[in-house]
């Protein structure tokens, strides 16, 4: 079933304050968006009357995950700040690449001046299907590795956008925050078709360690060469998971202080098994080995103690800024460098740490942008501020 939402873009008057930010209340955001579609505001109707040719912006979603909706909210808010007016035509491919390509062409055919693509699969489909319309992507972890751009300094085609890539230096810093005395950091990734981002992260981390003043850490890397499974079940998957567990156990026996899971979509779904292997195989009497991830999935699942992410809403607003530049100045999208955010979000799962007997350093709690798995003293409210009953708190593959 095709997911189509047309959202009138509201140009807020100066001095009007934005409503309470629903960044972390993703469930409420979804409901609000749907309500906004169903009931067009009077101001939007007034703008349509003043602008005979309203601009149309298309949004192609790969799935309706919370993070995708967060990006969608950022796009909407950015367009409101831009005062672009017109409509935001949102369509979701439901994880189907062909549908994504079709929807991308449909958005172009419906007159979208700029096509926003959220996430790497949607962007790849849009780039392949629509070569003649500016495409601005957001929340693409590795646009270069995914073949979306030819260079981070410019795509040299009709594509520009922002990446949610996290600087590996930040991962190393996070590791130091999690285990201040760490000297051996284990790394576990696979060698598959979608593991380029993870490999890139590790390579950049190695390079970062060579920079003067960088964090001194020994990276102990294990690469599972077993072919990644093509399905969620079956013998291939079991063999792959056993290989991951064996590699994790080997790392544990080698005396690593923490294990880093890069953004490997083959590995991250099995963070729970890896976590169990670490707990099982660590030498008797030694300290618990915390799991650190470059994404939030393992953290939300309660497997990783800490993980990193970026503000997807802000990242989407930065993508709107690129679109504005393309529309208003007519700049070629191919020369715009891939954008990103300096600020990273640290999410800590206190419950996971407590379950492992791991004592989270207090500076990490100060630094955290979200703390999961811990009831605060004055109620059962989740310390993240998010609705305890809403949102997807874990078990999601890839954390994307």
């Amino acid at each position: 079933m095709e997911f189509v939402v047309r959202i009138p873009i509201e140009a807020r008057a100066p001095g009007t304050s934005a409503p309470g930010r629903p960044r972390r209340r993703l469930g409420l955001v979804s409901v609000a968006l749907l309500l906004a579609v169903a009931v067009p505001s009077p101001a939007a109707a007034r703008d349509r009357d003043q602008q005979p040719e309203p601009a149309r912006f298309g949004v192609l979603l790969w799935q309706k995950e919370a993070e995708d909706l967060e990006s969608l909210a950022g796009l909407r808010r950015g367009l409101e700040l831009w005062r672009a007016g017109g409509e935001l035509d949102v369509r979701c491919a439901e994880g189907d690449p062909a549908e994504a390509a079709r929807l991308a062409r449909a958005l172009r055919d419906d007159g979208a001046r700029v096509l926003f693509a959220v996430g790497s699969p949607a962007t790849q489909a849009a780039v392949a299907a629509v070569p003649d319309r500016p495409i601005v992507f957001t929340a693409v972890r590795d646009p270069l590795g995914d073949g979306i751009v030819r260079s981070l300094m410019g795509s040299r085609q009709n594509v520009a956008g922002t990446s949610d890539r996290v600087d590996p230096v930040e991962v190393l810093a996070l590791t130091k925050l999690v285990v201040p005395t760490t000297s051996r950091l284990g790394v576990l990734r696979s060698q598959g078709p979608r593991s380029a981002a993870a490999a890139g992260e590790v390579a950049q981390a190695r390079l970062a360690r060579q920079r003067p003043g960088s964090i001194e850490l020994e990276l102990v890397e294990r690469i599972v060469v077993e072919a990644p499974p093509r399905a969620d079940a079956g013998p291939e998957r079991d063999a792959f998971v056993r290989a991951l567990e064996s590699a994790a156990a080997e790392l544990a026996r080698e005396g690593i202080d923490a294990l880093w899971l890069p953004d490997d979509p083959h590995v991250l779904p099995h963070a729970g098994r890896i976590h169990a292997a670490l707990r099982r195989e660590r030498p008797a009497g030694s300290a618990p080995i915390p799991l650190v991830a470059s994404s939030l999935g393992p953290v939300r699942a309660g497997d990783a103690v800490a993980g990193l992410s970026v503000d997807r809403e802000m990242l989407a607003m930065r993508a709107v800024e690129l679109a504005r530049e393309i529309v208003t100045t007519g700049v070629d999208p191919g020369i715009l460098p891939v954008g990103g955010l300096r600020a990273v979000r640290i999410v800590v799962h206190l419950g996971a740490a407590h379950a492992d007997g791991f004592e989270v350093p207090l500076p990490l709690l100060i630094r955290a942008d979200a703390i999961l798995g811990e009831d605060v003293r004055d109620g059962a409210r989740d310390a993240t501020g998010e609705d305890a009953a809403g949102g997807d708190r874990g078990g999601r593959d890839g954390g994307r």
Binding site: G15, S17, V376
Partner: protein
């Protein structure tokens, strides 16, 4: 017997305890004293020391706990300060990064909206920090609680170790005190037992050995060793007293035995003498009897011849020598009759005889002779008095023979007092014997003659005396034999110049009345 009874009564007093109390009582008193000393030691010595030790240990424990908590509080304060500094730095850095990430191009240079956005971000950041601080406070509280719990656990463990050590020291001290008290008690008890039991028993043992040795060596009463004094515990003192009483009774028994032995020896010696005398007299009597029989026949022939010669001789001048010769034969026949009496005592037939009457008749016959010699006779026991009731002195005897005995003794006594004197007769009635004592105040018999006075033909009368007065030396011998034939005894005592006493002791006839 009275002395023995008295000693026994002293040896076993009522309650069996004497002097310083029974051994059980003494031991009880000693144990009570030791218990009181122990209690005093515990109350006034051990308990205060224990309290001080416990208080010092508790103060040390509390001090360590306070220092640990103070150190923890200081560390928490330092950590909180570091956290606050880090919080400020992180806030500034996060704000800087957030500002740099702002899509300023979308604001179109609208400073107001940019300011509004910044304030919005600051607010979000502030709310996030507030939430973080809440979590942080909870975490700090939890960790502080864990550290406090760990500290308390450590303190409890230390307290447990201190308590264990204290209890161990307490046990050690108690064992030491108990051991010392036990040693002291045993020493006291041992010394007390040594003084109360061992020493008196050893003294008794030494005394027993000395008594045994002295009794064997010398039975004399003066040779008995000094007995130990009754001292020590009640039982031991009683035992010593009993031992003393027993030894006293033994000493008395031995003395009596010694006396009886002496008497027995004397009696044996006397009986032996009597046997010797009897044997001697029997042999002499046999000889004398044979000689007297033959001689009596000769004398009979001579008397017949002399009577015929007298019948044939009418002239007085010639008859006088014949008559002298006839009287001589008469005398010779008397001597021969005495010899025959000596050889075969003239006991014809025994009958009941009252010695009072028999002796009284003999005295009456001797009175004329006594008066001639100026001898006074005292024989009240043998004088018949109708107004006086007396026990009869009955014996089974030949009255003629006994009469001869007493007449002979009276005659000898009168003859022993030629210058006068006193002849006294006494009668002693025993349960089974009757003794008649004949005493004179005459010249007495020399000690060398006394053992031979009953020998035949032995006489103390001077040979130059009147032949009619000189004895044949057979009177006492015959009397001796007559008394002996009656189962009695004739004994003599004498002192030169003071007189002699002859005692006739005869078996008493049972009183028929």
């Amino acid at each position: 017997m009275e002395g023995a009874d008295r000693t026994t009564a002293e040896a076993v007093p009522a309650g069996g305890a004497r002097g310083g109390g029974s051994l059980v009582t003494r031991l009880f008193v000693v144990l009570v004293l030791v218990g009181l000393a122990t209690a005093a030691l515990l109350v006034f010595g051990f308990a205060p020391q224990t309290t001080r030790t416990f208080r010092d240990a508790s103060e040390e424990l509390i001090g360590d706990g306070a220092r640990a908590l103070w150190t923890q509080s200081r560390d928490d304060t330092d950590q909180t300060a570091d956290l606050l500094v880090g919080l400020i730095r992180e806030t500034a850095e996060a704000r800087r990064r957030t500002l740099l990430d702002l899509p300023l191009g979308l604001y179109g240079g609208d400073v107001e909206r940019i300011r509004e956005r910044i304030l919005e971000q600051d607010g979000e950041r502030a709310r996030q920090l507030e939430r973080n601080v809440v979590v942080l406070a909870g975490e700090i509280e939890r960790r502080a609680a864990e550290r406090i719990d760990a500290t308390l656990v450590e303190l409890r463990a230390r307290q447990g170790r201190l308590a264990d050590g204290f209890a161990q020291r307490l046990r050690g001290s108690f064992l030491l005190v108990a051991g010392l008290l036990l040693v002291a008690t045993l020493t006291i008890l041992g010394f007390g037992l040594y003084r109360s039991v061992i020493v008196p028993i050893r003294a008794l043992q030494r005394a027993t050995r000395r008594i045994a040795a002295s009794a064997e060596d010398s039975p004399a009463e003066s040779a008995w060793p000094e007995l130990p004094a009754a001292r020590g515990a009640g039982e031991i003192a009683a035992l010593t007293a009993d031992f003393r009483a027993m030894v006293e009774r033994l000493r008395l028994s031995r003395t009596e035995l010694h006396r009886l032995n002496s008497e027995l020896e004397a009696e044996v010696e006397r009986k032996t003498g009597q046997l010797v005398q009897a044997a001697k007299m029997a042999s002499i009597g046999t000889l004398a009897g044979g000689v007297a029989h033959e001689f009596n026949n000769v004398i009979g022939g001579v008397r017949g011849c002399l009577r015929e010669a007298l019948e044939d001789t009418p002239e007085p001048a010639r008859r006088e020598p014949l008559e002298i010769a006839l009287r001589a034969t008469e005398r010779a026949r008397g001597i021969v009759r005495q010899l025959l009496d000596f050889a075969r005592p003239p006991v014809e037939r025994k009958e009941r005889v009252d010695l009072r009457a028999l002796v009284g008749e003999a005295v009456a016959l001797a009175m004329p002779q006594a008066r001639r010699h100026g001898v006074s006779v005292e024989a009240e026991a043998f004088v018949a008095d109708a107004n006086r009731a007396v026990d009869p002195a009955l014996v089974d005897a030949d009255p003629g023979a006994l009469h001869q005995v007493f007449l002979n003794l009276l005659t000898n006594a009168i003859q022993a007092m030629p210058g006068g004197g006193t002849l006294s007769l006494d009668l002693v009635l025993d349960a089974d014997a009757i003794e008649v004592a004949v005493r004179d105040t005459g010249v007495g018999i020399a000690p060398e003659h006394l053992p031979h006075v009953f020998d035949p033909f032995y006489t103390s009368k001077d040979a130059g005396e009147d032949p009619g007065q000189r004895g044949s030396g057979l009177g006492l011998s015959v009397s001796y034999g007559i008394v002996q034939v009656h189962g009695g005894a004739l004994t003599a005592e004498s002192a030169v110049g003071r007189g002699s006493t002859f005692r006739v002791r005869l078996p008493r006839r049972a009183n028929e009345g």
